[in-house]
Symmetry: D2
Subunit: 346 residues, 4 copies
């Protein structure tokens, strides 16, 4: 790869967008060229986000295809439904695209329409889009024009379940994913239920009847299992800023499986999956700000239930960091470029 990558970020006022700016600002091979926001157009990025003072000199622009078409790569950190409107023109112009929203995550346009409440604007691209979980699709990502960056819960749940399903050692019909997320996962929009005075010092489940990440997770697990899976997925809102803790339950069908070895070998060589020693309890803070998924696998009492704990930073390995990882793959860079920092602890 010769030369610096010219990058645009569409919708960089939400948490995934500003996290992308944080990572890209120090990426050795990237030049941030265009940062857009309808609401903040004209303001300096560093005025809206003082944490970027001295690191990002740009002003927000209104999102215009012509400006973006001059980039090598455009990230969409927009609400669902924006990328599918703008991406086709950019792809036609030879720009590669990574969508951090959900527009290209489901392969079935009808299912997409059912969960997202509208028709898909470019269903023809769903087959081409590569689901950007490098631990599953690394080679296809390298050559992709269009990458669908996975959701935060789907990243943690898939990485946690994959070794079991690929090895066929659990009953795929009876999977439970109990997930706890920090509040930044709900976005930076003004809403009463995520005010500090509402969400601090409290926990609750939400969307038990059905969450948009359920079909995304199910699609990935079914591919790993080679057939349908039965998945119960319950997300919870936890009183913290960042972090997802996925606690996964499955029923062992195989005897004499060495779970620790299964996970260690599945993720050997993966730069951003850390299989912890047997008996570990990963904390979400151990990945705060870092592009890593830490996993521990347990078998309580030596019984037939497997318990997997997988933690990520929802804004990094669950969003912006994984997007940068995908960019690195797409442009032939070291997969670790710009992502090689330890977590912020405490």
């Amino acid at each position: 790869m010769s030369g610096v990558i010219q990058v645009g970020v569409v919708g960089a006022t939400g948490y995934t967008g500003v996290e992308l700016l944080r990572l890209l600002a120090r990426h050795p091979e990237v030049r941030l060229r265009t940062v857009t926001s309808r609401g903040e157009a004209g303001r300096a990025v560093a005025e809206v986000f003082p944490s970027l003072r001295g690191f990002v000199d740009l002003r927000y622009e209104a999102p215009e295809t012509e400006r973006l078409a001059a980039c090598d790569l455009v990230f969409f950190a927009t609400p669902n439904g924006t990328a599918m409107e703008m991406a086709p023109a950019l792809l036609d112009a030879g720009v590669r695209v990574i969508d951090l929203a959900a527009d290209f995550r489901l392969r079935d346009a009808a299912e997409w329409a059912r969960w997202y409440g509208r028709e898909h604007a470019c269903p023809g691209l769903l087959a081409e889009a590569v689901y950007g979980l490098p631990e599953v699709a690394r080679e296809r990502i390298r050559t992709a024009r269009l990458v669908a960056n996975p959701g935060c819960y789907p990243t943690a749940v898939q990485l946690g379940f994959l070794p079991l399903l690929e090895a066929g050692v659990v009953d795929p019909a009876w999977l439970v994913a109990d997930c706890k997320s920090g509040v930044s996962g709900a976005g930076r929009g003004a809403r009463v239920d995520i005010l500090l005075a509402e969400a601090a010092d409290s926990m609750k489940a939400y969307a038990v009847a059905g969450h948009r990440h359920w079909p995304e997770i199910r699609q990935g697990l079914a591919a790993a299992a080679g057939g349908e899976v039965g998945l119960t997925f319950v997300p919870h809102l936890a009183p913290m800023i960042r972090g997802i803790h996925a606690t996964l339950y499955a029923r062992l069908t195989a005897r004499d499986v060495d779970l620790q070895e299964l996970y260690a070998s599945r993720y050997a060589g993966e730069p951003f999956v850390d299989v912890m020693p047997a008996g570990s309890h990963p904390e979400t803070r151990s990945v705060r700000g870092a592009n890593v998924c830490r996993i521990a696998v347990h078998r309580p009492g030596g019984g037939d239930t497997v318990v997997v704990c997988a933690v990520i930073d929802n804004l990094v390995k669950g969003a912006a960091g994984q997007a940068v990882q995908n960019m690195n793959l797409m442009f032939g860079l070291d997969e670790r470029a710009g992502l090689d920092q330890p977590a912020l602890m405490p």
Copy 2:
């Protein structure tokens, strides 16, 4: 019941102890007579806990059986292993006892020894002790001399699962309890792992391999199910002060069961169990400081998995409030006496 109940509290410097003082200080039928602490003997209670200034005038005393024997009722808010040493003498003196620790919760002395790492000091009392979950044992509690106040997780998990197991509508072999607790559940001892700078803004599971509340829960659920149960119990530390959110998973075996009606009828008339409307997501803050368990039952996608959300304040319905509820029953008072306050929200 005529006359005020003379009450002693042993070990009132931990969180369950001071919560007991908060509740007893305003209880209309109680006189706090003796409050003990080895470490703080001689100091005014309100000096150690300024929130009680103007409400509790006593000084901590060293725990002495003679002083305590003058009470009608003694609460033990002590570490495990203290009540079993002191309770026999008090019972002999005609004092009734409620132990908020674990000394009398398991009926099997061998199992107790296995989980608590020592021999039980008075195994003969295990058969007499009444497990103080009023929703199960109300009548036996009324006449009990010795009540084993349930643990915090066991209260939430049992109240959440009981209707399903009593009705026999789920497979008892495959129960999952994923529980999230505020940090006060870990006690008021000086420990690094529960410092604010360690536990805030983070989540983790702990004791996945086995937690002392597991045999306690299993004992209660087996009684409800009329036979052995298979239970996976994973506790998590959540970055909040109070509250337990139990998320329970079971597999329906019955068809055409109306889960909402099942829960509503099971807990009809219960003063401290609140079955919420269908589709609800109870928040732990909705019970902060209040002696209530709020429960919602879900059946995602109309499938064969039941998801129950049960929330309590670990220090109230999970400890001190339930102890006062038991006291009210034991002394023929209105079960709501001293407990009839709404939660503190926000």
Copy 3:
């Protein structure tokens, strides 16, 4: 006083409103008759606030003068500007009024207009309205038709400075009030800056150039000092739900003043001001949910600077609790009625 007080609450969906409902629901002499909200009219109060399930059976109504006119007392827990529109008609109908907003706090209509950005709707009532700080105006409150309930910061700052200014022992020209507030003080409206993901784990000052509570505080301190005061007031947003910690600085002009004795005697007999022992550091959690202001006075190094720490729960002694205290005075009840509960700690 014979008979129960019929009470209406206008605007009971914000934090001061729902806190008022919590307190009034258990007040022994009150019947909650009408609870209004434009936005939630028709919904059950306990549906919006599940913490009140079992305590408040009412539904929100649209605010109508006729319905409210049947009350003995109406509380306004509304945004600034509402009470001044509705109060005159209610007063004419013989209803007494307590406004928890700012409409009647300033005596000077021109200053009110300057700080609140519009003309006052009934400036003639400003002279009649009694500023409801019982520690200053107890006797006038008893007979008031219209009480202006003090702001949260003004309550803490005035109670903290009063003894010094009344005694004339500090330089009134050089007062500093550095105040830290929990986020509930910013209200329950949807705003980005008070989202958990924005406000948690962080601190900032705000409105350093000028805050609406500044003229209110200055008015009260000037009355105490018997002349103008020079006040610098800097509010800060602290990452907590409830609580104000006011740290006050003044320059001693008197010699040989016993500050501890000064405070103790000034507040002797006050039911809701707690002067702590010399050397104390009051914590906001020691007043969480309780109608009390705890104060400690220091003189570092025996020098000429006085440091006063005053803590309140901004929603209780800083709003709803003080309003109930005022109601008790207005209706000849025990000043402590409905307010006699210890703080929730931890």
Copy 4:
């Protein structure tokens, strides 16, 4: 400068120590050679701090002078009193030393003894030690053998007051520093008062009668003012992990001073002091994890009081980051090396 710097860290199990490891692990010119801890000797660093898995491969060693003497530079991240015992031997061996504790911060051995409760072990070194605030002593730091890294509060307070005092535009006799610190400032020792269940959702002042950082701040401010200063310093514990917000009050004596310009010119070219635009309110989260002090200066109502808000991350610019900055100066590196990362926000 040729070659990598061989670095040792003594006492790397506290928060400043582990933060130093986080920064040094990615520093382009450093090789971490020896990391010591009496308590954890033999354990892998990354086992104690999983956030460092993959970044630090070392095991803790017992602190031995011989091992440390092979380093070019040794950091002491130890409790007060350790560095003064070990530093002389290292200095004799030609090792340069940065002490992050307080052993070399005060120039007067008698004052040190008064505040730290014991005699100083090597008072002769106090005159040689350079107080490591680069914005004041950059040139002397470059050649120092022994650097006393400033305390967290002293860094924020001095950087905030310096322009005013150096310019002589305020009354030095009447300075107030009201400071709010995250709980990590209290260290990683097991203590009840900093448990999450004690310190969360609450605020308090502490050490109002006198704090060890007071003489340190006073010493620095006196040097800037060219004479004695009168300083009132009140630290507060805020319910957050990291961050200090210093709110500073002074009385203007000069007329027609352009405060914004004064600060901008004083800190022009400083790589790690960010003077924000007029009217700003810096948040501590805007410096989370970053080696920067952001400052805003206000003059409320155009009056004679100056209010300065200065924020730092207590573990970075207030400790480990500043230590790395000092190291960079001492070894002729780019002052920004290893420190050029934006804050983690949200």
